[in-house]
Symmetry: C2
Subunit: 119 residues, 2 copies
């Protein structure tokens, strides 16, 4: 049976910390659901990741700040970004109701190589 679930279900009633869950993972990537309920990156901290990240906001709203940009970007459902390795960024704000649900794909190479065989 194919493994299945719903991205908007199974969100705990209490969420003292952000929720990070790996949905699928191989040697080539890690796919993660993140749930934020008003959580933000701690003051003064920037994410500086060795890997590339494709991230989409699927529910809620968020303010995402890149160090190289003067202002935060306001994200609404469906917004996605490709964040290159070592592109410093932080989450300045997330909504509480509905909470912010993110889908993040972490992968070692941002460059295109051999195309995968199509369906």
């Amino acid at each position: 049976m194919p493994k299945s679930d719903n991205l908007y279900s199974t969100i705990p009633a209490a969420l003292p910390e952000e929720l990070f869950e790996t949905l699928e993972q191989t040697g080539g990537f890690r796919l993660e659901r993140i749930v934020s309920r008003g959580h933000k990156t701690p003051e003064g901290l920037w994410y500086d990741q060795p890997q590339a990240e494709w991230v989409a906001l699927l529910q809620g709203e968020a303010l995402l700040r890149f160090e190289q940009e003067p202002e935060s970007r306001r994200l609404v459902p469906g917004d996605w970004l490709c964040i290159p390795p070592h592109c410093r960024h932080r989450v300045e704000w997330t909504s509480t109701w509905p909470e912010a649900v993110w889908l993040a794909l972490h992968y070692p190479e941002p460059v295109r190589t051999e195309p995968l065989e199509s369906e």
Copy 2:
């Protein structure tokens, strides 16, 4: 600047055929947005893919049928599935308003190997 877009925007007014767009791709995966507006798999055809696929329905509704199951699964927004290689399946129906927006991740290996370095 990080590349960005919105999963629910840039949907053509006319959609005679399903829309397939690669959002990101490396040697390890291909991430694709699919938009279906009432489209379904042609009669008698089953998808039989050499690669694993993680697929989520993000908007709209759909009926997804697996050959090994007697009935279709009704998918609503947020529903996702891991489809193993060569697990034969077909899309029996998709909504027209709103249209069905899917996110599909195609990858060569369904097995877990080395975990990626965390953030």
